[in-house]
C-alpha cells in the first residue's frame, strides 16, 4: 500500500472508527459522511470501538490464506458485531491456534471478543508495517475485557509520581527445560502478529484504564525499547495515534514524545523526566506516559535465547491521584562496552569481559547504595526492591550486596516466569510489587542498561493505590493465567523472528 492509503486506513483501523447518525443512531463501518436513512438531514459523528466488547457472529477457519497472511498459517477470520448488532466489522481472531481437525465454527458464534492492536502484514522487509485493532481475542480467554472509565481526579499531590500503570504479557510461553542456574522457569513468547509496538499499545491501554486518566490529558509519551520494528520511524507515534494521547486536532494530537534507546533502561531513565515535566509549569500538560517494551532479541541457541521474554509495562506520571510518589533518583553511568548491537545487525553481542561484573553489578549496586545514602533510608525502610532482571540470579545478588534481604527482592523476581523483557524488565517488576504494595510502603527500583548505566528510584506508595486496585490486571494474575499456552522451541523461534 502507498503511504497515503496507509495513513487513511490508520485513521479507521487503529480505533475501529465508525460514523453514527446523530438523528437516528444508525452506525456505519467504515465511516460514511451521510446516513442512508436521514439523507441530507444527516448529522454524523465519529464513534470508535477500541475499548468496546464485541460478539463473534460468524467466521471461518482460513486454511489457505492470502499471500499476505501466509506467515500466520491457519487462523480464524470472523464477523464481529458491536452495540447489539448496530455495527458489524470483519476481524481476525488472534492469540488462537486452530485445533487439529475440522473446526466447528458454529460453536464459537456468540462468544464475546475484545479488540487487540496487532500487526497485519508488512510490505516486504523494507516496506511499511501495517497495524490494526480489527483483531480480536475471546473475552473468556487469556485477555479479559476491561471497561475504560475516565475518572475525574480528586487529589493533587505536591510531589509527582505514578498515577497508573499497565503491564502486557503475551499469552504464549515457553518452558526452560533445563535449569541453567539462572532461575528461569518459563518465558513469554510473542504471538506471530505481535511486536514491540503492539505490546506498547496494550500496556498503554491498560495504564489508561488503571489510572482512569483521559488520554487527551497525556501530553508526552516516551517509549523505551531496543527492538522497535522500524530503525527510523517512531513506535511512539503509533502508540499516540492508537491510544489518542493528547488533545485531538485534525486527526493529529497535541502531544509529543520519542522512542528512546539505552539498552534495557531506555524507559526507566525517563521516569525522572516524566515526573519533572508534570511538575514544570511550562510543560502545560498533566500526564506523561513512559513505556518499556521489548520483544527481547537473541540469536538461535545463544545463551540469551534461553532467557529472553516479550512484553511491555507502561507508567503514567502526573500529580493528580498519585499512587506512588517519586521521591529519590540517583543515576550512574560509565562507558562500559558489555552488550551492543551495530546498525544493521540482527542480534546483540555480549558475553565479553564486562558482562556481570563490573558492568551489571557495579552500576546497579552503586546506584542502589547511593540512593540509600541520598534518601537517608536504611534497607529495612524499603519494603520492596526491584532490579533490572536479565535473569533471576543477578537482581537477587545485587540486592543482597546492597544490604537487602531475600524477602524484599523475591516479590519482584517475576523474571523467573516471564523472562527478560529488556526495557520492560524493571518496569514490569515494579508493577508486580505495586500490585502488592500498601499505602506507606517504600519501593526501590534500580534499572540497568548495557553500555552502561543504572538509576535508582525510591517511590512511596499512597492511599490512592487502593482506589485503583480493581482496575489493574496484576502481573501475578497474568503469569498464572490458566489460559496461557506453551509452545515448543521452533514455534517460539518462528514467532519471535516474525515480530
Amino acid at each position: 500500500m502507498s503511504e497515503p492509503i496507509t495513513r487513511r486506513r490508520i485513521l479507521v483501523d487503529y480505533r475501529i472508527r465508525a460514523s453514527r447518525c446523530v438523528n437516528c443512531g444508525r452506525t456505519y463501518f467504515p465511516p460514511k459522511f451521510f446516513c442512508n436513512t436521514e439523507g441530507r438531514s444527516s448529522r454524523m459523528n465519529y464513534v470508535d470501538y477500541f475499548n468496546s466488547r464485541g460478539t463473534l457472529i460468524s467466521g471461518s477457519a482460513i486454511r489457505k490464506p492470502t499471500n499476505k497472511f501466509l506467515h500466520l498459517g491457519s487462523f480464524i477470520s470472523g464477523v464481529v458485531s458491536f452495540d447489539d448488532g448496530n455495527v458489524r466489522v470483519p476481524g481476525r481472531i488472534t492469540d488462537y491456534t486452530l485445533p487439529d481437525g475440522e473446526l466447528d465454527i458454529t460453536r464459537l458464534i456468540g462468544r464475546g471478543v475484545v479488540p487487540r492492536f496487532r500487526r497485519l502484514y508488512t510490505d516486504g522487509s523494507q516496506g511499511l508495517i501495517y497495524y490494526s485493532s480489527l483483531n480480536f481475542s475471546f473475552d473468556d480467554d487469556y485477555y479479559p475485557y476491561q471497561e475504560y472509565v475516565k475518572v475525574e481526579p480528586s487529589n493533587t499531590s505536591e510531589r509527582p509520581g505514578i498515577v497508573g500503570y499497565g503491564v502486557y504479557l503475551p499469552k504464549f510461553r515457553i518452558k526452560n527445560e533445563e535449569e541453567s542456574g539462572l532461575g528461569m522457569k518459563e518465558r513469554t513468547v510473542p504471538f506471530a502478529d505481535e511486536d514491540t509496538t503492539t505490546f506498547a499499545v496494550e500496556a498503554g491501554k491498560r495504564a489508561l484504564i488503571h489510572s482512569g486518566v483521559d488520554g487527551k490529558h497525556v501530553k508526552k509519551c516516551f517509549l523505551g525499547s531496543e527492538s522497535t520494528p522500524y530503525a527510523v520511524k517512531p513506535s511512539m507515534s503509533t502508540v499516540c495515534q492508537a491510544l489518542q494521547l493528547g488533545e485531538e486536532y485534525e486527526d493529529g494530537f497535541f502531544s509529543g514524545g520519542i522512542d528512546s534507546q539505552f539498552a534495557c533502561k531506555a524507559a526507566t531513565d525517563l521516569f525522572i523526566d516524566a515526573a519533572a515535566l508534570v511538575a514544570y509549569s511550562t510543560f502545560g500538560g498533566e500526564y506523561v506516559m513512559v513505556i518499556g517494551s521489548d520483544n527481547a532479541q537473541a540469536a538461535r541457541n545463544d545463551p540469551l535465547d534461553f532467557t529472553v521474554g516479550a512484553g511491555a509495562a507502561a507508567f503514567l506520571f502526573g500529580r493528580r491521584d498519585v499512587i506512588a510518589t517519586l521521591d529519590y533518583y540517583v543515576p550512574y553511568t560509565s562507558d562500559t562496552p558489555d552488550f551492543y548491537r551495530r546498525e544493521g545487525q540482527k542480534y546483540p553481542r555480549h558475553g565479553g569481559r564486562f558482562t556481570g561484573e563490573p558492568a551489571y553489578f557495579k552500576h546497579v549496586v552503586t546506584a542502589m547504595k547511593a540512593a540509600l545514602r541520598v534518601s537517608g533510608l536504611a534497607p529495612k525502610d524499603i519494603r520492596f526492591v526491584v532490579n533490572h532482571s536479565p535473569n533471576a540470579k543477578y537482581p537477587y545478588q545485587a540486592a543482597l550486596e546492597a544490604g537487602f534481604e531475600k524477602e524484599q527482592v523475591e516479590p519482584g523476581l517475576v523474571v523467573k516466569y516471564i523472562g527478560n523483557l529488556y526495557s520492560g524488565s524493571s518496569p514490569t517488576a515494579l508493577a508486580a510489587v505495586l500490585d502488592l504494595a500498601e499505602p506507606g510502603d517504600c519501593i526501590m527500583m534500580t534499572s540497568y542498561g548495557s553500555g552502561a548505566g543504572s538509576e535508582s528510584y525510591i517511590f512511596t506508595v499512597t492511599k490512592e493505590i487502593e482506589n485503583k486496585r480493581e482496575r489493574s490486571i496484576p502481573v501475578k494474575q497474568q503469569i498464572e493465567n490458566l489460559h496461557r499456552e506453551y509452545v515448543d522451541y521452533n514455534t517460539y523461534r518462528s514467532w519471535k523472528e516474525l515480530s
Partner: protein
C-alpha cells in the same frame, strides 16, 4: 408481444447466437484469444449468418485482467482481434462482470441505438495462480482482506451462520450443502466444455480438504480460464437471423454494500432478492413458472441461499428441500429441486462448481447455457421436461453480493 400465460411483455432483446470456450486451465492461450474464440463462435452460430460488420458495438465483462495479465484497454485488443473499429465497453463487476456486460448490452439494444451487439465475458486466472487468492479479494472490502479473509472464507462465514441459524445441529444440513456440489458435478458429466466431468459423492465433499471451515475443497468452484460470448439483436429483427431466437424478457440488476460483514444479513443476498423480485415483477412470472435456472454457485451455500432469496423456498428451509429433492431423485439426468409437484432444474450444465468459473466469463456463460437449453441444442446434457422448455433464469453475483444481475429468458413469447 404476448407473453406466456397471456400477459404482455416487451422483450429487451433477442439472443441469436452464442459461443464459448472450454473452461479450465488454458495456459497456451492469451485472454484476448479466448475471448476471440468465444466471440467468433457466437458469430458463426447465427443460423442465417452474421458478418463482423453487422456488429455495431461490443460489451465485454472481465474482472482481473489488469492483475492477471497486465493488460488494460480491452477494446483496443478486441478491435485488433476482430478487425473492426466499433464502440466497445468493458464492465468490471467482479464475478458479476459478464452478467453486467450483458445487462448493459440489453439496455443498449432496448434504447434503440444499436441493432446488433456482441457480449463477451472472459477471465484468465491460471496465469497468476500463485496470487489469485489475493487478487480475488479486490471484490471485497479491504477490511475483509485485512481480517485475513479469502473469498472462500467469506462464503464460509455465510455458510457457518446459515448452519447455525437454520441447520441447528442437523447433519442433513451439511449433507444438503454437499449435495449441491454432487448435483452440479452430475449435471456436468455430459457437458463437453465443463472443467469437471466426473461424479462426486456426498462423502467425497465432506471429506475433501478443508479450505475455510466449514467450506471444503469440493464446496468450491474452481480457478478457471475461459470465455463466452453471445450476439444480441432487437426482438423485431431476431427472426432475420434465426428461427429460434431466445428473448430476454427480464433484465434487472441490484447492488449492495461491497462488504459481506457489514451487510444486514449473512444468510441472504439482498441484491439477489431485489433483482429477482424486479425481474419476476416485470415479466409477471413467479419462480414456479421457471423451468431452469443458472445460479451463481461459486460456493454451494450461494446456491442454497439463492433458492431462498428468490422466494423459491422459504427462508431457512432450502436445505431441507435440497436434501429431500436429492434423496428422492430416481432419474439419471438432471436433478430438479422439487416444490409442490413441480421442479426447477438448477445449473443444468454444472454451474460454476463443475462447468468452471472464469469469473468474468461466468455471467455470459450462464446466458449461453440457457440459450442452448431453450433451443434444445445442449446436446447430451439437454434438459428434458414435461411439455415445452420455455423459461430460464440467470443469476450472476459479483463479490459476496455487492451486485446481482438477473435475466429471464424465454423461447416462445408469441
Amino acid at each position: 408481444m404476448d407473453a406466456p400465460f397471456g400477459w404482455k411483455v416487451k422483450p429487451y432483446a433477442a439472443i441469436i447466437g452464442a459461443g464459448r470456450t472450454a473452461f479450465g486451465e488454458q495456459w497456451y492461450k492469451d485472454p484476448e484469444k479466448l475471448l476471440m474464440e468465444a466471440g467468433i463462435g457466437a458469430v458463426e452460430s447465427v443460423d442465417s449468418g452474421l458478418r463482423r460488420r453487422d456488429i455495431q458495438a461490443c460489451y465485454f465483462g472481465s474482472f482481473l485482467y489488469q492483475a492477471t495479465n497486465k493488460l488494460g484497454l480491452v477494446p483496443g485488443y478486441m478491435a485488433r482481434e476482430l478487425g473492426i473499429n466499433i464502440p466497445m465497453n468493458t464492465t468490471e463487476a467482479a464475478c458479476g462482470s459478464g452478467g453486467s456486460a450483458f445487462y448493459n448490452a440489453c439496455i443498449a439494444i432496448k434504447s434503440g441505438v444499436y441493432d446488433v451487439v456482441l457480449v463477451g465475458g472472459f477471465e484468465k486466472m491460471t496465469d497468476r495462480s500463485s496470487k489469485i487468492i489475493d487478487d480475488l479479494m479486490f471484490a471485497a472490502d479491504p477490511h475483509e482482506f485485512d481480517a485475513g479473509f479469502t473469498f472462500s472464507g467469506l462464503y464460509a462465514a455465510m455458510m457457518a451462520r446459515y448452519i447455525y441459524d437454520y441447520g441447528r445441529g442437523d447433519r442433513r444440513c451439511l449433507e444438503a450443502l454437499a449435495q449441491i456440489a454432487c448435483k452440479n458435478h452430475h449435471h456436468a458429466v455430459n457437458n463437453e466444455y465443463a472443467q469437471f466431468r466426473r461424479e462426486i459423492r456426498v462423502q467425497d465433499v465432506l471429506k475433501s480438504a478443508p479450505i475455510a471451515d466449514p467450506i471444503r475443497l469440493l464446496h468450491c468452484s474452481p480457478i478457471s480460464d475461459g470465455a463466452a460470448a453471445v450476439i444480441l439483436t432487437k426482438p423485431e429483427l431476431a427472426k432475420r437471423f434465426t428461427d429460434t431466437p431466445i428473448y430476454v424478457i427480464g433484465s434487472q440488476q441490484a447492488t449492495d454494500d461491497v462488504s459481506l460483514c457489514t451487510r444486514e444479513s449473512l444468510t441472504g443476498i439482498k441484491a439477489t432478492r431485489l433483482a429477482v423480485g424486479k425481474a419476476l415483477k416485470e415479466t409477471k412470472l413467479s419462480m414456479e413458472n421457471l423451468q431452469i435456472a443458472e445460479v451463481h454457485d461459486c460456493f454451494t451455500i450461494e446456491e442454497a441461499v439463492f433458492l431462498e432469496d428468490s422466494g423459491f423456498y422459504e427462508k431457512g428451509k432450502a436445505w431441507e428441500s435440497i436434501y429431500e429433492s436429492y434423496e428422492s431423485f430416481k432419474g439419471s439426468k438432471h436433478v430438479p429441486y422439487v416444490k409442490d409437484g413441480g421442479g426447477l432444474i438448477v445449473n443444468p450444465g454444472g454451474g460454476l462448481k463443475a462447468d468452471g468459473h472464469p469469473v468474468g466469463a461466468t455471467g455470459v456463460r450462464q446466458i449461453y447455457e440457457c440459450f442452448k437449453q431453450l433451443r434444445k441444442e445442449a446436446g447430451k446434457h439437454q434438459v428434458e421436461v414435461d411439455g415445452d422448455l420455455n423459461l430460464a433464469l440467470c443469476d450472476n453475483i459479483g463479490g459476496t453480493g455487492g451486485i446481482a444481475t438477473v435475466h429471464i429468458l424465454a423461447r416462445d413469447i408469441s
